[in-house]
């Protein structure tokens, strides 16, 4: 079995208007090589589901996004994502705001093929008014408790980035947190995994224990080898966040000219190799 493919081939499977889940968390282990390939495409009107970071900011700045389903959008060391702020404040993107735990619950419901999962999180907050169609459910048991019925967040496509993978699509995370990458994949109809390095299955054990093998090939349709593919977000232990680059990225939200210059230098390039070369050339 060989599911190896390219970022370009992955993006050719995406369609306007799709709901796309993006793994990672904030500015941590984001599938940025796949996101950058999306920027090179004519895709538009996407719904992005994410624990958001520069993935959301870049896609918003490039005009690809109609709607964002999120608990936050942050660059971690820079708390507010400037491109996302700009898109929100100009009214260009619609916000479907959730509590962080509700977002997990929606993915988990979709993963388990359930219409919803009950939770207390959200009760009494403005999420109840702001998230379209959100309803409560009454416990059928003696307690009769009212809970939020968090609807399944069914994804058309999930994009995640891990440290290692094999050609069959098994993924290995070597950092401190898987985040919710397994749930993103389980919640999606089509699932694509980029990784720092594709290795032989027998080499997984050299890098980490079986605890690190948390993404099964059952939930992966394509694997892309993309060294540096999470840049500028962190991908430990392979690399830290590129804080200098992130500052440059954040500063590019200051004016249309700054954004154009950033795009010309780093994004309007033929492929990921050209991007990585431009990053190295700084």
């Amino acid at each position: 079995m060989d599911k190896r493919t390219t970022a370009a081939a992955v993006v050719r499977e995406l369609r306007d208007g799709m709901t796309i889940g993006i793994g990672g968390w904030g500015s941590r282990r984001k599938p940025m090589a796949l996101v950058r390939e999306m920027l090179r495409s004519p895709l538009k009107d996407l719904t992005i589901v994410s624990y958001g970071g520069p993935d959301v900011g870049l896609l918003c700045a490039a005009g690809k996004v109609r709607r964002v389903v999120f608990g936050f959008v942050s660059l971690d060391s820079i708390p507010l994502e400037p491109h996302f702020r700009k898109a929100r404040e100009s009214g260009k993107v619609e916000a479907h705001e959730l509590d962080e735990g509700m977002l997990q619950w929606g993915l988990y419901a979709a993963a388990l093929r359930l219409p919803f999962l009950p939770t207390r999180a959200g009760l009494g907050s403005d999420v109840m008014q702001l998230y379209p169609g959100l309803k409560t459910v009454t416990s059928p048991y003696a307690d009769g408790e009212q809970l939020v019925a968090m609807p399944a967040l069914q994804l058309d496509v999930a994009l995640v980035h891990l440290d290692r993978a094999d050609a069959k699509g098994n993924g290995q995370f070597l950092g401190p947190d898987l985040y919710f990458d397994d749930l993103f994949c389980m919640a999606a109809r089509r699932r694509f995994l980029s990784c720092e390095r594709i290795v032989a299955s027998e080499d997984f054990a050299k890098a980490g224990s079986h605890h690190t093998l948390r993404l099964s090939r059952m939930f992966v349709d394509g694997v892309v080898e993309a060294p540096g593919g999470a840049h500028p977000t962190e991908c430990p232990p392979d690399y830290d966040r590129d804080e200098d680059f992130q500052r440059e990225y954040a500063a590019s939200a200051k004016s249309p000219e700054a954004w154009q210059a950033f795009q010309a230098r780093y994004l309007a390039l033929p492929d990921e190799a050209a991007y990585q070369a431009a990053v190295r050339a700084r």
């Binding site: 958001g52 608990g71 959008v73 999180a121 009494g124």
Partner: protein
Amino acid sequence: MSEFTRAELCAVALAECFRGDGEILASAIGVLPTLGARLAKLSFAPDLLITDGLHGVLENPPPLGPPNGFQPVVEGWLPYRSVFDLLWAGRRHVVMGATQIDRFGNQNIACIGDPKHPRAQLLGMRGAPGNTINHPTSYWVPNHGPKSFVAKVDVVSGIGYDRAAALGSRAARFHEIRRVVSNLGVFDFRTRDHAMRLVSVHPGVSADQVLEKTGFALVVEDLVETRSPTDQELRLLRERLDPTGVAAREPLG
């Protein structure tokens, strides 16, 4: 009694939020709340669980700034999934920030203005709705003024006592806003209708100054001065937890 800064006083007031919490995760967002949680663990609340700010539970609270030879003792692993689980299980007390907070403790960190067309997009809801309905929450507001202590928040991220009451006592039985600490004073909601009460003013601050800078009517009763840091607390802050003076660079006011 040694001299101390306003930041040190606030760190101690934030530590006090955790007094009596026992064996739970003490979470803190921001520099002074983080110092407060770590100080509480090293002094009067040794059973608290403290993280390295990421995924490790540390038996020994780490210093802010460069590690300088500090050797963390990791006693647990808390990826975000486990954090969500334990907070829904109620084993946590968090000190969050609040861009806006109102008389009943509703907190906004999502956006300013109409959320459909925000004048300013902020962080988003983050975990505030889930935190406030599941376990004790306190707030740290470093810039006390009529724009932060407001009559009505633009968006309710973390729910206050009026919202909790509307849900009924069963649905909201785990809701508790323990305290609010600002650069001017300490506040709680231990009043008949759970309206915010001024508990103590920091040294050099008058109750009138606090009232003037608050966008709603505060309850003022049994007012005292915020307690000073002890010599032991100052030693822990200066020598152990913040040897490079990160807290001194925090903007207050």
